[in-house]
């Protein structure tokens, strides 16, 4: 195993998953980088089991038909934490951030969960297929008013966002194209819904109403015909801007934080060549997401150490990463799951409820004075709690070493937390902190063991509080 294998694997798992423990990294490095990428992008072909969701529903019944957003977030966070198919969950998050739909308007957490399940089950499939399914998803139709897009009175909201935020990006279509797209999607709506009272059985189903569809000719992106919604998606997919736009999103999500989407028209991508090549793979594979991700994760621009720890963790990555590392809710769920589930929201990313159709602003915008305090407190509280199996395992591994200088203790903690890197200044401060607390004794009595565990968990807390820990 080369020296770089484990740190590189750690980078992959931070980006394609929610991080990994040292044990997992070793096992994966032994298996090989490319083999790990294959397993991540095609979990079915590698026999990776799905989360046993009935184990959630047994102990938390109403998370199956969540009456409120926090119950929906419990449903999702449980799967983020327990999954053995982490890239599938990350892609669900990726698409949720792109096809941002909010419960604040939809007001139906069960319909939001249905949309998220589409993003999970199709997120590693074909983008064109996904776009079509999302175009028929009732939560999306309601969110962007397509249920009010009628033959006699078109509503342009869906048509506009489809082009601006979901496929091509600003600058590649005209105002007339928006109007034509809207006309093509008239009649795409949902069946009358059973009210959720009294039995919570009411979720939406898609319905196409031919009598409400505009059958006239439309000229869209230079083509003319009696287009329906499917035709619009076909035409969109043929446009080079679409592959570029999705490729830039993939680069932004997995490699390096970009400027916010509304600035993409004016500001070039950080690595235009990389985005071009991802776009080409997308186009050549007819929008196969697996092909694009296989290319991305194996590309030199992804493996380059310059992009390691260059992205600010989004709140979900931070919360889930810590929870997975400390091993909470792995064996079984507990009533406190709700606290973990709402935590990303407190840190600025309320899953199933993005602030607008533009989604969340990312990168350094995740950090403000309020969210930073919550992020630090969350990580420090969990990492400093030796009753969690993951924390105990770190303590045990360090306790088994023959001798431990303060530097070795810090390096051990950084390694076991998933190959974290610190800047020289931070490193110096932490070593001085360990030194100031006196010599490290392990010993065999209960009191000595407890004291050693206290020293380790305190250092884990401090690492979790560093600036560097905010990055992935």
């Amino acid at each position: 195993m080369a020296d770089r294998d484990i740190p590189l694997m750690a980078h992959l798992m931070r980006r394609a998953g929610f991080g990994a423990s040292r044990d997992e990294l070793e096992a994966r490095a032994k298996k090989g980088y490319e083999a790990t990428v294959e397993e991540l992008i095609d979990p079915d072909a590698h026999g990776m089991p799905r989360v046993d969701i009935l184990k959630l529903y047994r102990y938390h019944p109403m998370t199956e038909v969540p009456p409120n957003p926090s119950s929906a977030q419990m449903n999702l966070i449980f799967q983020f934490i327990q999954t053995r198919r982490p890239l599938e969950e990350k892609m669900m998050l990726f698409w949720h951030m792109l096809f941002a739909t909010g419960n604040s308007k939809v007001d139906s957490p069960p319909d939001m969960i249905k949309q998220m399940e589409i993003l999970r089950s199709k997120g590693l499939g074909n983008y064109k297929d996904l776009l079509l399914v999302i175009s028929k998803n009732p939560a999306m139709l309601f969110w962007l008013d397509n249920n009010q897009n009628h033959r006699t009175a078109p509503n342009e909201n869906w048509g506009r966002e489809l082009l601006e935020l979901f496929s091509m990006g600003q600058g590649h279509y005209s105002e007339d194209d928006v109007k034509m797209a809207a006309r093509a999607f008239t009649g795409w709506t949902m069946k009358p819904k059973l009210p959720r009272s009294p039995y919570m059985r009411g979720t939406w189903e898609f319905e196409y109403r031919a009598e409400d569809h505009d059958d006239g000719d439309k000229t869209f992106l230079g083509r003319t015909g009696n287009f329906n919604g499917e035709d619009i998606i076909d035409i969109i997919a043929k446009e080079p801007a679409t592959a570029q736009f999705i490729a830039r999103h993939l680069y932004n999500f997995f490699v390096e934080d970009d400027v916010q989407v509304p600035s993409w028209l004016d500001v070039p991508a950080k690595n235009p060549k990389a985005v071009d090549t991802i776009a080409k793979v997308l186009k050549d594979s007819d929008y196969d997401v697996k092909s694009a991700l296989r290319f991305l994760f194996n590309a030199p621009f992804f493996k380059d150490e310059k992009v390691w720890f260059a992205k600010v963790k989004n709140p979900t990555e931070l919360v889930v990463g810590v929870s997975r590392l400390v091993g909470e809710y792995q064996e079984r769920s507990m009533p406190g799951l709700v606290q973990t589930a709402v935590e990303p929201g407190y840190q600025g990313q309320e899953i199933v409820n993005p602030p607008s159709v533009e989604g969340w602003h990312y990168g350094s915008e995740w950090i403000d004075t309020g969210s930073l305090v919550r992020r630090v407190n969350y990580a420090a509280e969990k990492l400093g709690n030796a009753s969690f199996p993951g924390v105990q395992s770190i303590i045990d591994r360090l306790a088994s070493k023959f001798s431990l200088t303060p530097e070795e203790l810090l390096d051990g903690c950084l390694e076991l937390l998933g190959m974290i890197r610190l800047e020289a200044g931070t490193r110096k401060q932490l070593i001085e902190h360990v030194q100031a607390a006196g010599p490290l004794k392990r010993g065999s009595t209960e009191a000595q063991r407890r004291a050693f565990a206290g020293r380790v968990s305190e250092l884990l807390q401090l690492i979790g509080s560093t600036r560097e820990y905010q990055f992935c």
Binding site: L54, Y57, R58, Y59, H60, P61, M62, T63, E64, V65, P66, P67, N68, S70, S71, M74, K191, P192, K193, L194, P195, S197, P198, Y199, M200, R201, G202, R332, S333, M334, P335, G336, L337, V338, Q339, V342
Partner: protein, 336 residues
């Protein structure tokens, strides 16, 4: 699904339904009052969270005839009389109501008259006599309490104040072993049925815990994460087949007889009250297809009363569907 299901010489007629989501969000279990079968005690867990965001853990005494609460109480928390994960309810020979908490590992006791908290017992742990995930509970005729433990994967026979009389079971999938078991039922002969949730089967034991048979793990009538069991006077066995959203019926020899999926085409009294209170609901229901709500939605507990009525509680709709079984049914001999 017809409102009447005839299989062999048995007929199951859908009768009516009771309750709404508001009766029991995330209902877990219920028990009919020993002296008045038209009264029940029902417990619900909502989303099983330790902080209230909307629906919370409750238990209620319910009038099945009027379809309304006699009393109901919200009970979130670890303080005395409260719950985090209420899982099973039983009525003691003293008439008191015993409710297990699968997370707090204790049994709380309440007055059946007014719901007053009377006491609690239970020491968390895996040693004999301790509790690890107490779920389904039933008293036998002699007043001993059988408690299923989902974390300890066993059944314990205890006195009503928690002293241990017998313990059996361990984790596994062999006879007498369990995987996160849930509900329990004791038939008229004292035989014990346990819904062995994770093993997708029901196990039957003699009163002293000897394994007799298992069923549901394969073949026709295959169960998915069963939660509740009941038997009727003829020895037929009813299983709340939670994961499959159906009631699975077996004969006394554990042969599958029929599957029932729910037939509640009309609203319960309680449900009708909810709808009548909001004209928008009334209008919306006229436009929508209601057939989805006829079906069971996570059936979790089942009882058969002395009138041969089978009462199935659905966890996620908070409703109960009542079927009446006609035994020895014979087709009419003339042209109707």
């Amino acid at each position: 699904m017809a409102l009447t299901l005839t299989v062999g010489n048995r007929t199951y007629n859908y009768s009516h339904c009771i309750g709404t989501l508001y009766t029991s969000r995330g209902g877990q279990d219920y028990i009919l009052d020993a002296k008045n079968e038209d009264v029940m005690y029902v417990i619900s867990r909502a989303n099983g969270a330790d902080v209230a965001f909307g629906a919370i853990q409750r238990w209620a005494k319910w009038d099945l005839e009027k379809d309304e609460a006699i009393f109901e109480t919200s009970t979130l928390g670890a303080e005395d009389g409260n719950f985090l994960w209420p899982a099973g309810v039983a009525q003691g020979p003293d008439g008191n109501i015993y409710i297990s908490d699968e997370y707090l590992n204790r049994i709380s006791i309440f007055s059946s008259k007014d719901g007053k908290f009377l006491g609690k017992w239970g020491v968390p742990g895996a040693a004999p006599g301790q509790l690890g995930g107490p779920a389904g509970m039933r008293f036998d005729r002699d007043g001993s309490l059988y408690v299923v433990e989902s974390q300890n994967n066993r059944v314990q026979k205890l006195t009503k104040d928690g002293r241990r009389l017998a313990t059996w079971g361990e984790k596994g999938s062999g006879p007498g072993q369990f995987d996160a078991p849930f509900g329990i039922h004791i038939d008229a002969k004292g035989n014990i049925f346990v819904a062995d949730w994770g093993n997708n089967r029901v196990q039957k034991f003699s009163p002293d815990g000897q394994f007799i048979l298992e069923f549901g793990a394969s073949g026709a009538g295959r169960l998915l994460r069963p939660t509740g069991v009941a038997t009727d006077a003829q020895g037929d066995v009813y299983v709340a087949d939670w994961g499959n959203d159906r009631l699975q019926i077996f004969d006394a020899e554990a042969n599958p007889i029929a599957s029932v999926y729910g037939d509640a085409r009309e609203l319960s009294k309680q449900g009708q009250r909810v709808i009548n209170a909001n004209p928008d609901f009334v209008k919306a229901r006229r436009r929508a297809d209601t057939s989805v709500e006829w079906k069971f939605f996570r059936p979790i507990a089942v009882h058969v009363n002395s009138r041969n009525e089978i009462i199935v509680m659905e966890s996620l709709s908070g409703r109960m569907q009542v079927y009446k079984k006609e035994k020895d049914y014979v087709e009419a001999q003339f042209n109707l």
